[in-house]
């Protein structure tokens, strides 16, 4: 037993070293950097304690970007999970599953930058296909990207279009793992379709749903390309998100210390969300 423990440690060592060097070290370095005023372009560096954080919390644009990010995450993730789950349940029973499954997955396989560029063309007020099609059914053209009220929603639609397939895929896989005989015995006892869904399918899907919620939340917090390409954070600051804020300060102005402080705040928020979900996951797995 003792010997195998040593061996385990030895075999784990490379992975642990890689983890330390590539994840723990940069994270610690980032935490340290956030206490410095660091102008990367000039190479000036001086310790300023918590000043970066004070400045950050006093900057209205930071709060606006945080608000936009949270709206974006909540709306986009909920829509993705609802739509993806509904599609998966629907197509789980249907025929021609393979073909449809492949077709539904396509958006997910595209690079985000391609998705953003394509949607930018489709959203164009004058030449875009969306306003063109709306014109057919008599709807007046809509300023998808240039209206400050709609711009964020338009980007959410793009994100939902791209990532619903991911939810669909995971939920479908987990649906297909539910044994047929549970449904059979339920129907023997006289359960109808909606009862089966409510009392069998959804409870059994719960761990998968929480998992996709977690994965999509973490990923959506980091949305960047879509704002960058579709609106550049505008109009005004209607689509300024926290990653865009970090990007501008870090890579346009090279205020590395300040941008790092903002990143630390983002990491903390994501960790909080993750703990919330993980607790749910652990609770569910304990029950089962």
């Amino acid at each position: 037993m003792r010997k195998s423990n040593t061996m385990t440690h030895i075999f784990l060592l490379p992975a642990v070293v890689v983890f330390l060097v590539l994840t723990v070290y940069p994270l610690l370095y980032a935490v340290v950097t956030s206490f410095y005023e660091l102008d990367f372009l000039k190479g000036d560096i001086s310790f300023i304690g918590l000043d970066n954080f004070n400045k950050l919390f006093e900057h209205d644009v930071f709060w606006i970007s945080l608000r936009n990010t949270i709206i974006f995450v909540i709306v986009a993730v909920l829509m993705e999970v609802l739509l993806g789950t509904a599609l998966a349940i629907y197509f789980n029973s249907g025929k021609g599953l393979k073909l449809i499954r492949t077709a539904i997955l396509l958006p997910m396989l595209l690079p985000p930058i391609t998705v953003a560029l394509t949607w930018k063309m489709m959203y164009d007020y004058e030449f875009g296909i969306i306003n063109y099609l709306l014109g057919w059914i008599g709807v007046a053209p809509i300023e998808w990207l240039s209206s400050s009220n709609l711009a964020l929603l338009s980007i959410i639609i793009t994100d939902v279009w791209q990532w619903t397939p991911f939810v669909f895929l995971i939920i479908l896989a987990s649906l297909q793992a539910i044994p047929e005989d549970i449904y059979e015995s339920a129907s023997v006892f006289g359960a109808n379709a909606s009862q089966c869904l409510r009392y069998i399918t959804l409870p059994l899907l719960k761990p998968a749903i929480i998992l996709v919620l977690l994965l999509r939340t973490i990923d959506t917090f980091q949305v960047f390309e879509k704002m960058y390409v579709l609106t550049g954070g505008g109009p005004g600051n209607a689509t300024e998100t926290i990653t865009f804020y970090i990007y501008r300060h870090g890579f346009r102005y090279f205020e590395t210390g300040y941008a790092t402080a903002a990143s630390i705040v983002l990491v903390l928020i994501i960790i909080l969300f993750s703990i919330f979900y993980l607790k749910r996951v652990l609770k569910t797995s304990n029950l089962s």
């Binding site: 060097v21 372009l41 109009p235 005004g236």
Partner: protein, 436 residues
């Protein structure tokens, strides 16, 4: 026993991370010595060298890639052109020099970056390679951009692409309504309103309203025309003055004459609107002339004229936006890079690059070349615009000033803020940025 092993294990990990940490520190602290040692090991120019250029992707990088083939044949040196988008270019160059990786021997620099790059000491002083200064054939306004301090100091970069804003207008419509070509912003507005009311398919004036660099570049000529100054002599921002307000009022009126959606317009949308015949007037860069006169994609071939940017209370003030070429101080082939720099900005090479579609030379003799003038009807107007151009303020904080100012301008344009309120807020924030 198990516990001690764990302690040893943790200790080992800490030790490894400590080694990694110190190794990283060493790499960054040795940057100072490298510069001195490089002086002694200058490349002998007889051996073929490989030069790498960081270039802005687009027609100029394409032309550059073509033209270097000739250089490779003549000298036996190899030249790689590494083309990247605008934002990436700056990031890449800064990271390359600050990390001492020395991947690039020449870099393209947008002219407002110069003060920032100079302050960060990213570039090699070129005075020893051009002891008598740059040739007088270079447009003086362009040559001034590559000097630090501006106009008077040592040369750190050579003007490569001589972009300057120009006013594009539909001459066929000017003739149709029997008016004079617009000279002032009031003329522009009056003409734009006529077009909007009378024409079915065509709007008046197209703004480039996307937040940040696009809207600032687009609004600045109006701001200057109304007599505005971005920074006064004490480097204090002055964007909320009467000139700023008047210019923004005019900007909002012009917006009403244009197509919907200009709040997120960047150059590609402007180019589409113009070439599709959707707008009558806009401010644009000379490199788009070829798009306008391109028979395959344009509905307005030969119908668009190019002139100096309109004036108002002050004289016309077109914004200069040159691309410069400099040698990063971390280059390992400084001599060869300087030789290439001289070749690529020579009159002959510039002519060749112009024919290949790079758009905007930086030498007077190239603008006056009869063969080129015949092919590019806008060249005389472009040279005049260049010679009367105004540079953006020379501050190392320009990127941040532009981004912040552009955010408030965009908010005003989108109707989120009143003009005065938005400009006051912008000025206040710019004061904070410049005071740092």
């Amino acid at each position: 026993m198990y516990k001690t092993k764990r302690t040893v294990f943790i200790f080992l990990i800490l030790l490894i991370s400590l080694i990694v940490l110190t190794a990283c520190n060493k790499a960054s602290s040795s940057s100072g010595d490298e510069e001195t040692s490089k002086e002694d090991t200058k490349e002998a120019s007889t051996e073929p060298v490989e030069l790498t250029i960081a270039a802005r992707a687009g027609s100029m990088a394409d032309a550059l890639t073509e033209v270097v083939k000739q250089y490779e044949e003549e000298t036996g040196n190899k030249v790689n052109v590494n083309a990247m988008p605008y934002d990436n270019l700056k990031e890449t160059v800064v990271l390359d020099v600050r990390n001492n990786s020395g991947a690039f021997d020449l870099v393209m620099i947008d002219d407002p970056w110069m003060p920032e790059f100079a302050e960060g000491e990213l570039l090699t002083n070129l005075d020893s390679y051009f002891p008598d200064g740059l040739a007088s054939d270079f447009v003086q306004k362009s040559a001034a951009l590559g000097k630090v301090p501006y106009e008077t100091g040592s040369t750190y970069a050579v003007p490569f692409i001589g972009n300057v804003q120009m006013f594009f207008y539909r001459n066929d419509l000017v003739e149709k309504y029997d008016i004079d070509a617009p000279q002032t912003w009031d003329d522009v507005l009056a003409f734009a309103e006529t077009i909007k009311d009378e024409e079915q398919e065509t709007f008046g004036y197209a703004l480039r309203g996307q937040r940040g660099n696009p809207i600032v570049s687009n609004y600045l000529p109006l701001f200057w025309a109304y007599g505005g100054t971005v920074l006064d002599e004490n480097m204090k921002p002055q964007v909320n003055t009467e000139a700023g307000v008047k210019a923004m009022e005019m900007y909002m009126k012009l917006k009403e004459t244009g197509p919907k959606g200009v709040e997120t317009f960047d150059s590609d949308q402007i180019a589409t609107s113009l070439t599709q015949g959707q707008v009558a007037m806009t401010i644009a860069w000379p490199s788009w002339v070829s798009e306008v006169d391109n028979k395959e994609n344009s509905n307005v071939v030969g119908k668009v004229n190019f002139s100096a940017v309109p004036s108002q209370e002050s004289d016309a003030a077109a914004m200069i936006g040159n691309w410069l070429l400099g040698i990063p101080r971390t280059s390992q082939n400084t001599d060869a890079a300087a030789a290439f720099l001289e070749w690529v900005t020579s009159a002959e090479t510039q002519k060749e690059m112009t024919i290949l579609g790079a758009g905007a030379p930086t030498r007077v003799s190239v603008y006056e070349d009869p063969e080129l003038v015949e092919q590019y009807r806008h060249f005389p107007a472009q040279l005049e615009a260049l010679q009367n151009s105004v540079a953006r303020p020379r501050t190392s904080k320009w990127s941040q000033v532009e981004d912040t100012w552009g955010m408030y301008l965009s908010q005003i344009l989108a109707g989120q803020l009143d003009i005065q309120e938005g400009l006051d807020k912008a000025n206040e924030e710019l004061e904070g940025i410049l005071a740092k």
